[in-house]
Subunit: 435 residues, 2 copies
Amino acid sequence: MEQVVSKATDISEKVCEWRPPEQLKQLLDLELRDTGEPHHRLLELCQDVIRYSVKTNHPRFFNQLYAGLDYYSLVARFMTEALNPSVYTYEVSPVFLLVEEAVLKKMIEFIGWKEGDGIFNPGGSVSNMYAMNLARYKYCPDIKEKGLSGLPRLILFTSAECHYSMKKAASFLGIGTENVCFVETDGRGKMMPEELERQIWQARKEGAAPFLVCATSGTTVLGAFDPLDEIADVCERHGLWLHVDASWGGSALMSRKYRRLLHGIHRADSVAWNPHKMLMAGIQCCALLVKDKSDILKKCYSAKASYLFQQDKFYDVSYDTGDKSIQCSRRPDAFKFWMTWKALGTVGLEERVNRALALSRYLVEEIKKREGFKLLMEVAPAIKERMMKKGSLMLGYQPHRGKVNFFRQVVISPQVSREDMDFLLDEIDLLGRDM
Amino acid sequence: MEQVVSKATDISEKVCEWRPPEQLKQLLDLELRDTGEPHHRLLELCQDVIRYSVKTNHPRFFNQLYAGLDYYSLVARFMTEALNPSVYTYEVSPVFLLVEEAVLKKMIEFIGWKEGDGIFNPGGSVSNMYAMNLARYKYCPDIKEKGLSGLPRLILFTSAECHYSMKKAASFLGIGTENVCFVETDGRGKMMPEELERQIWQARKEGAAPFLVCATSGTTVLGAFDPLDEIADVCERHGLWLHVDASWGGSALMSRKYRRLLHGIHRADSVAWNPHKMLMAGIQCCALLVKDKSDILKKCYSAKASYLFQQDKFYDVSYDTGDKSIQCSRRPDAFKFWMTWKALGTVGLEERVNRALALSRYLVEEIKKREGFKLLMEVAPAIKERMMKKGSLMLGYQPHRGKVNFFRQVVISPQVSREDMDFLLDEIDLLGRDM
């Protein structure tokens, strides 16, 4: 624990101790044998696992849309790992079901709905799938029993900058990736509502059946926020379900200063929001929230297993939320977020969001001052390789439209400072100097 | 930790401290406020959470298909919670991806396949969904892009005793619950192969398109094992994908004495197997294993996100397994099972399985000796209520076909003894005596 929790956050230590796959296999003793290993050997194995694992709580881990370590959440996670609950019935998880209810209620309040429902899922991708299935259920409840065979071609609309889970969802749900219409975005990566409207008309003309629009609040590559209010107008006109994938950007709702980025979100029918990203709840912590209060989650998902959801129980079975889920066993993911929220209060969470966004701005200003930082050559993959091998920093890169591979800087953790921003620029500069 | 790990396993303590929902809400301070709570208050909250949570590691928690606490797995879980990895790319999770590969390889060996592939999922229900989607992909790869619209009615076959996730999967994947054919079982709860064959012919006659048979190894209520060899014969004759839901019973493969229960499993195309059940890896730890080695998981699931799965990386990107999954972020669930396996060896795991099955047999013999234990009256729900309020024991009940509600006893943990079996009978006897 000292190595993972303390040493890993020390900036004089490496973010990662890079080894290529074949070499790492040699270094670790991965093989599972007939007889067990003695305790001192197990301890060595644990140390090796820690040594060669990426320190995602290192202040210079900027590689993904999560980073840092919240100690309150970590305590909560230790507790739930030891208690090992499964959140499906009140009798097995009384506390964690009530905690989930309390957290969902508060998240619903921040979205701006008067009431609603929700469920925590293993990832934002799964939350997006839930939303797609709910929209389909709303469009035609018979699909639950009859399936899609013989129905007109269902079609959905999402930003060209949306998360790749929309395609995965369409494929998994039997809708087909070709029935995901990608709506053109502006120069900042925001969906253009007039383009959306045009594509809906076009689809109708072709005989397809539109049923869902997915807007994104915080796109994966550019961090763009779609104009929700205007998109909601289009959805209203066409009677379409509006889902907002706010997996990344939803946490801006905690900030009085930045919540305007999601203006109009209260008009959505469903929202995906991952506190494991900017609010550091630990992977996984992902809510799907639904405005409908007619128990649509249960109607759409229930399979009424008689061994689990007996109706003759001696308590109020409406707390047995397992039948709202595609899962059977489910982890108490709301609890770790609840603990952090309890510890910091809404104000403390707001400060974290504001701090991260202020640091991003600082970085932008610094980049403008630096020469050589509008990269026009294909150097990101080569700099990344040097960065990983040195272990000094982890930062993601990707291409985008006409642009070559570029670095995407993500700021989340309160352990990150201006010094880390400066280090980032210095380090990229240093690693790329001879190219 | 003392309260959760030590005190909770003390049989003189209660399994649960029962409170109905409204009363528990009063006892816990669940509300999330603007300002944070001081540390001493947080500690009190933690203690309350533990007090009112069910002790699933108590030797008398028999309520679900998981129980007990494995200390090696718990250490592994503490490590991964602190490291907070997401298992999608080698650069972020080098160790955990290699560990997953090693564990899957070994599980594939126990199934009896020469080679194969697999992935850990958030639950057996999700693994079953994966299998259904793979079978559909194999039947018609175009469905990934085109969807099900305009196709003939796809139909699948499973035991009348199967897990309810098959219906959930059919509904979620757009196939429809009415296209799940439930095949009649014998008196022991095993699927009857001749009935399966009859239903397949019947479906074809009606113009439906059979694509999948799901056999169950260890049904939820009766613990029945379908005759895999005979079912595989039927599948071969009809060219159908054979999936085995061994979420519960798969662990019997670890026992040389009991693996005959799954005779023929090597003929399956896919297998779901949850080490978080009988092998106590902690929720969630669920593998889907696939015989095909032509990279069908990646072909079926990939969405090729350019920001995550860049093809110009400096290492072998075949280790970036994230594109085999419906998830984006994914937990390192294989690691905790790996740690237990390392510590106990295959022989130690085998002993645990054998011990649990021997205790079940002991209980059966003792029930036969006891008067009043072939319950013919509807008393299980009432005894259950008394049991929960007393907190002495947790045991699941359900109806089954013509039978009234009855208790289902599940033995998993090595901390369970003959004394606990005797206590179970004494306690049910005691609680029901005046009925």
